[in-house]
Symmetry: C2
Subunit: 391 residues, 2 copies
């Protein structure tokens, strides 16, 4: 037998209610890999697959002990969608004379830039406020979809809980066009190389610490819940980031304001780089913003700034685990605490939660993809239920 | 009264069967804009909105004359989805020393490139082969989603007809990462400007003729079906195209082969720039390819090349209207005809169809977004039904 796992039974039962099963190892003697196991629920019946299961007998016993009704419920039921689709918000036409260096495409003309791609799904009989899911640095809306190890993403999970979900690609990222005119200007000698856009990619090695899989590549924080066995799939999610070549604030912010007003009451859920966007959106106008959930924000508003916009809606700032062990994230948590204290003093309903403080452990920076992502989602749904009015 | 429209009644009835209504103007006296009208079908009942309706009384009379049952059927029913999600295919890790010029992100490390993003939806009780939808130049998977004027895209329409749909973003496009190392190499003086990647954007003005909205910007072919009133939304779909900086064949081709084999029998439906990809995929291996539908391909395989791969599956090459009036497209249609003749002679079941020849008129190059997009879809579904075996 490999490592010794203490299975937290309540989690197992709990997870079955959602039609999917996972565990959280409370304590491992050997490396945590020995405690990973998963149960796949195919269409016909329940089949248990175990990978390096520390205590196989316990796992089997648990599954067999489940009442038939619970096993039935454990099948993921079909999704019933009232409406789905995609559209763009924002965008402006600009003229360029360096669109192309190819004979088949003219160099001069108009292109549209700064628009924001939005894909949405609305469940049948929804009485909930729509959730707008905003990805972070070096990523796209894929962040919220199927996890790297193939589990249900938050986009679908929230939908199944009755929330319309709107997943965006930030301006100049994913399906939202960038502008490459400056590249062709330099290529054709019309501009100097220092006029090239500022664009960067986060390497696997750099992302490792930024996303707090561990203190540095390839070390792992004990008990950390990101599914590292599927890291190759995760690296494929990463894309070049052009945000430093865009105007400030990022055009995504204006587009989010337009989207919020169109939806007439949405909760803006941002992550990391985009953590500040909902606050910047509220500073433009609080119209249409039913709430703000800022997950592991790269920054919070200044504690000594104008805090009035942040007294108009419920706000949650959410951090995962190991923050104090990260030189990148610890100062951000500290400054967010200062913002929350100041906004509360100004009359805002602003809350900051660090997940281990509410009994959820092991969350990486990519907590929406962690093995316990749906546990975090449930906690968040509970918060939304208590703070955001239904439609 | 504005223009005079002859409403083609069979189309109106026909469209109601699908829960959405449009018309095709047979002849307009004034500019076609005067004849545009649409009917929105909200949740409760049927409401008719008319915009610049040439013959308002006729429109209303038609709607009122519909039997109650037809009006009931005209509501779009909820979508029932067995499973949905997203993943990547392909991709490889590469080392770079010019990933970043920013202090917060290290310049050296590994990034993953050449992967292909795939988003899929599987309808309940599907007995059909999955369809893989592959977009063209300067576009992303958005091509197949909601049309610029807000109607249902082919992705959902095929799903509603029982087909699992897999929508991809080509390598280095949309949610499939590119590699910007060369830009930073030039920016930091490590490489000369001529080492910059070849990247282009199609301007609105250039795209106009390429997509055959008319012979040249802003002229419109008579009866052309693209919803030009929503052109601003369409321009937002366009993104820079990095394909000329990628290896040949495009890494998308290898990824399509991997996807086809994983799906164990999919119809590859390509468009324009990607028109050739399914053929190139079949040349790698015919495994997993249940059929090829190449819509308005930028090119067909050479008629004097190895045609054996194209004798292994049903193949359709599909063109829209006004091809003979386009110096860009007429030669491509001609060379595709030569390919089809040669492949047929070699024993292939290869068909080339120009839509006006089967009674569908007005199709632009973006025929999956035209006002009569679902009429084309129905024709295609009929073709699939006759040529591609069920699962």
């Amino acid at each position: 037998m490999g490592g010794l796992c203490t299975i937290r039974l309540f989690l197992v039962t709990y997870a079955y209610e959602r039609g999917c099963l996972y565990h959280e190892s409370k304590k491992t003697v050997n490396e945590s890999k020995d405690c990973w196991w998963r149960i796949d629920l195919p269409k016909e019946g329940v089949v248990i697959k175990m990978s390096s299961l520390a205590n196989g007998l316990l796992g089997v016993a648990l599954a067999l002990a489940m009442p038939a009704a619970a096993q039935e419920a454990s099948k993921v039921s079909p999704l019933s969608i009232e409406k789905q689709g995609s559209f763009f918000v924002g965008g402006r036409g600009v003229h360029s004379d360096t669109l192309s260096t190819l004979p088949n495409f003219a160099p001069s003309g108009t292109v549209t830039v700064d628009q924001m791609y939005v894909r949405y799904q609305i469940p049948v009989n929804s009485a909930r406020r729509p959730l707008t899911l905003i990805h972070g640095c070096c990523l796209t809306g894929k962040t919220w979809e199927t996890t790297p190890d193939g589990r249900m993403g938050w986009d679908e999970y929230f939908l199944r809980k009755g929330y319309p979900t709107y997943v965006i690609d930030q301006a100049a990222r994913g399906r939202s066009a960038g502008n490459v005119s400056a590249i062709n200007s330099v290529r054709t000698g019309k501009a100097a190389p220092d006029q090239l856009p500022v664009v960067f990619e986060a390497s696997h090695e750099a992302a490792w610490a930024i996303f707090r899989f561990g203190p540095e590549y390839p070390k792992v924080f004990p008990g950390m819940q990101f599914p590292l066995e599927a890291q190759e799939e995760f690296w494929k999610q990463m894309v070049p980031d052009w945000s430093n070549s865009l105007p400030t604030p990022n055009p995504t912010v204006q587009a989010l304001s337009e989207l919020a007003q169109r939806l007439d009451g949405t909760v803006l859920i941002s992550h990391s780089q985009s953590g500040i966007y909902p606050f910047q959106t509220a500073a433009i106008s609080t119209k249409g913003i039913a709430g703000i959930v800022s997950i592991e924000p790269g920054g919070c508003p200044a504690a000594n700034g104008d805090l009035q916009p942040y007294t108009k809606m419920p706000i949650l700032v959410l951090f995962g685990d190991y923050v104090d062990q990260s030189t990148r994230w610890a100062p951000r948590l500290k400054s967010c605490r200062e913002f929350v204290a100041a906004a509360t003093k100004s009359g805002g309903k602003v809350e900051l939660v660090v997940l281990p403080d509410v009994g959820i452990h092991g969350s990486s920076h990519m907590l929406m993809q962690d093995r316990n992502s749906l546990e975090v989602a449930d906690w968040l749904l509970n918060w939304l239920d208590r703070h955001v009015a239904r439609k």
